[in-house]
């Protein structure tokens, strides 16, 4: 079981880097869906025994992170008729290098942390790496929709860290967190839709009317 979990965690890092490197929005969203699926499998593999809690968390995560949100984002692209590419502020190669740097940094930091109950030594470094890569996507991409993708990756990183505590944090809370993320992205999607209509573009850097 543990080696499968490790494999999945490595795949999560790969999906992070893949999202950083893709040029098309639609593949970005596919990468996100794949990552959501991987995250959904993890609670089942990490739990010491299969409980209602682990199964519920897995099902909820797959539904929200692998199905509903990617489908919704894909819908937003179609409706807004965005065919154009990701438009990074920092180039693709540079951002992948940044991503690799983030992974290295994450492992360096995690090895120094006084780790909580270590059932999965990879969990904390992968969580930190995903968090940082989410930040990179959020800050170095122009399109409002890609910023939503960045926020979701960041949130996935936090979810991974949450898995270290999953036996101790009640199910209800995890459900609340998932619901909040879901509604948050839903509202962001609606705002993105309006931005596209008002500005004829999803470019968030054009949002510059409000200054002092």
């Amino acid at each position: 079981m543990h080696s499968t979990a490790q494999l999945i965690l490595l795949l999560v890092v790969l999906s992070d880097l893949a999202i950083l490197g893709t040029t098309r929005l639609s593949s970005c969203i596919r990468g996100l869906a794949a990552q959501g699926l991987l995250l959904g499998l993890l609670p089942l593999l990490i739990a010491s025994r299969l409980s209602v809690h682990a199964v519920g968390l897995a099902v909820g995560t797959v539904i929200v992170k692998a199905v509903v949100l990617p489908w919704f984002l894909a819908w937003a692209i179609r409706e807004a008729a965005v065919r154009r590419e990701v438009e990074p502020i920092v180039g693709f190669i540079a951002s992948q290098l940044l991503g690799a740097l983030a992974v290295a940094l994450a492992f360096a930091i995690a090895s120094r942390l006084p780790l909580p109950t270590v059932q999965q030594p990879l969990l904390v470094p992968v969580s930190l790496a995903t968090l940082m890569i989410g930040f990179i996507v959020l800050t170095t991409r122009r399109k409002a929709l890609t910023q939503v993708v960045g926020y979701l990756i960041l949130e996935n990183g936090i979810y991974l860290f949450g898995l270290t505590q999953t036996e101790r944090v009640p199910f209800l809370i995890e459900l609340g967190v998932l619901l909040d993320v879901f509604v948050g992205v839903f509202i962001m999607g609606i705002v993105v839709f309006h931005i596209n209509r008002e500005f004829d573009s999803l470019d968030a850097t054009r949002l510059t009317e409000l200054t002092d």
Binding site: A144, T164, R168, I173, G184, I187
Partner: protein
């Protein structure tokens, strides 16, 4: 039981408003809003009179800190709803049920934050406040409000995500066997057994995360845009109630850190954020041309004062609690009055408004009085609380800090006075007529002003008691 009703009633009504077809269209069910607001305030008031045992296995309970924030929220909500009666005669939102539903959802979320004793539940409630308010900022549906909504959503979502990480760090700090996970009373009781490195990390992340929602500098950048573009009654609710809930989040983790004996680590951090917020606010208040943006920076200033008081400890914690009440009430008051000006002239800038004393006499008078309340001048309550925080700085042996504080507050006063007096006095543009001010639009602000004025002269016994107990929980002392 009462705690469950307080947190769930607005949600149930919100769901009804959002789903029942009868509420479609532009008409806002104001009577329903008013009924919920009154019931909520009545229940909250009853908590002051008779105590209520914790419910849901200790997840919901009333403590002095939570009760203060809950009451403040409830009062501001009622005032906002009364104001909405007059407001909706002039401006109709595109969708009545989104307007009412989001307001009610906000009330639920804020009540959950105030009553929650489980820190993850505090987080869930806080994130829900962000989401409930976002559609309200976008009420006007134009480019500027769209930009403001987007900035608000992205910055607060990232901030609140960091707070979630901080919450998990706190669970890590607890390890196994230090009581129930993330339950506040257990965390405080076993504070000395918490892992200090994780606790420090948790404190920093929660401070930055909830600090983003408070609008502490340098995470305040969404604030002027959001308060500037949102309808004034939404800004009033945000600046008065939402920021207080966010402060409660910071206060919760401060309680734990103080109980763990990590005060010497946490206090300088709080003081640094406080001073930076005061400085940034002073810098942007000078030369500001728009009252709503000005008030947003003033909110940054007061959030800074709140964490400064926490950081100074001693009597400063009491000062912060008192200031929380004063600031919430006076921000609600001044934002609603600004709303009247925008309704009458369509603008909140100094360029678009001159001689308001002639055209809107009651509102102009309340605006000028509000200027003095917001800047902490006697005889208003804000003066008492700011003075208490100042005293704490001197008692803690930082006279230079008190001097810097005074200087920054003075700069902010000059900047605000220049703008507000310029708008209120002078000759109105030729041809502007005197506007009739509906009682609905001024009654609430007058009530809030009366309370702030009273708090400057006399703090009622029960309130004093609750604030002092809250201050003690934060590692400080009563006055």
């Amino acid at each position: 039981m009462r705690l469950l009703v307080i947190s769930a009633l607005p949600l149930l009504v919100a769901l009804a408003v959002l789903t029942v077809p009868a509420f479609r269209g532009r008409r806002v069910p104001v009577a329903l809003l008013a009924a919920v607001a009154l019931a909520h305030l009545a229940l909250v008031t009853s908590l002051w009179i008779t105590p209520e045992p914790p419910t849901l296995g200790g997840w919901l309970a009333v403590d002095p800190l939570g009760l203060t924030v809950l009451t403040l929220t409830s009062v501001l909500f009622l005032v906002t709803v009364i104001y909405a009666v007059g407001y909706l005669r002039h401006e109709k939102p595109g969708s009545g049920r989104v307007f009412a539903g989001c307001l009610l959802a906000f009330l639920t979320a804020a009540s959950v934050v105030a009553l929650a004793q489980h820190l993850a539940m505090v987080w869930v409630g806080m994130e829900a406040t962000t989401l409930a308010v976002a559609p309200l900022i976008f009420l006007r549906r134009d480019r500027r409000s769209l930009e403001a909504t987007w900035k608000y959503l992205v910055i607060s979502s990232v901030g609140i995500a960091l707070a979630l990480l901080g919450t998990f760090f706190l669970a890590s700090a607890q390890g196994d066997g230090a009581g129930h996970p993330l339950l506040l009373p257990d965390l405080i009781e076993h504070a000395r057994e918490l892992h200090p490195a994780w606790l420090r990390a948790a404190f920093l992340f929660l401070l930055v995360g909830f600090g983003t929602k408070m609008g502490l500098a340098p995470m305040h950048t969404w604030k002027p845009d959001t308060y500037g573009e949102a309808p004034s009654l939404v800004s009033a609710l945000m600046a008065g109630a939402l920021t207080s809930c966010a402060f409660l989040g910071v206060a919760r983790v401060t309680e734990v850190v103080m109980a763990a004996g990590l005060g010497p680590f946490a206090q300088p951090v709080l003081i640094a954020f406080g001073l930076l917020s005061l400085a940034v606010a002073a810098a942007f208040i000078i030369g500001q041309g728009d009252v709503k943006r000005l008030l947003a920076y003033s909110s940054v200033e007061h959030m800074g004062l709140l964490v400064l008081g926490l950081g100074l400890g001693g009597v400063g914690a009491y000062g912060s609690m008192l200031h929380l009440v004063n600031n919430g009430l006076s921000k609600g008051w001044v934002f609603l009055i600004t709303g009247n000006i925008v309704l009458a002239t369509g603008s909140s800038t100094a360029a678009g408004n001159r001689g308001l004393v002639r055209t809107l006499p009651v509102s102009a008078a309340l605006l000028v009085l509000g200027l003095f309340a917001v800047t902490g001048s006697p005889p208003f309550g804000t003066f008492m609380s700011e003075f208490t925080i100042l005293r704490a700085a001197i008692e803690a042996g930082h006279p230079w800090l008190a001097a810097v504080m005074l200087l920054l507050l003075a700069i902010s006063f000059v900047g605000m006075a220049a703008l507000v007096l310029g708008m209120a006095l002078g000759e109105p543009e030729p041809g502007t007529l005197r506007v009739r001010e509906s009682p609905w639009l001024v009654a609430g602000p007058i009530a809030l002003a009366a309370i702030v004025l009273m708090l400057g002269v006399y703090v009622p016994g029960p309130l004093h008691d609750v604030l002092a107990r809250a201050a003690a929980a934060l590692g400080g002392t009563g006055p």
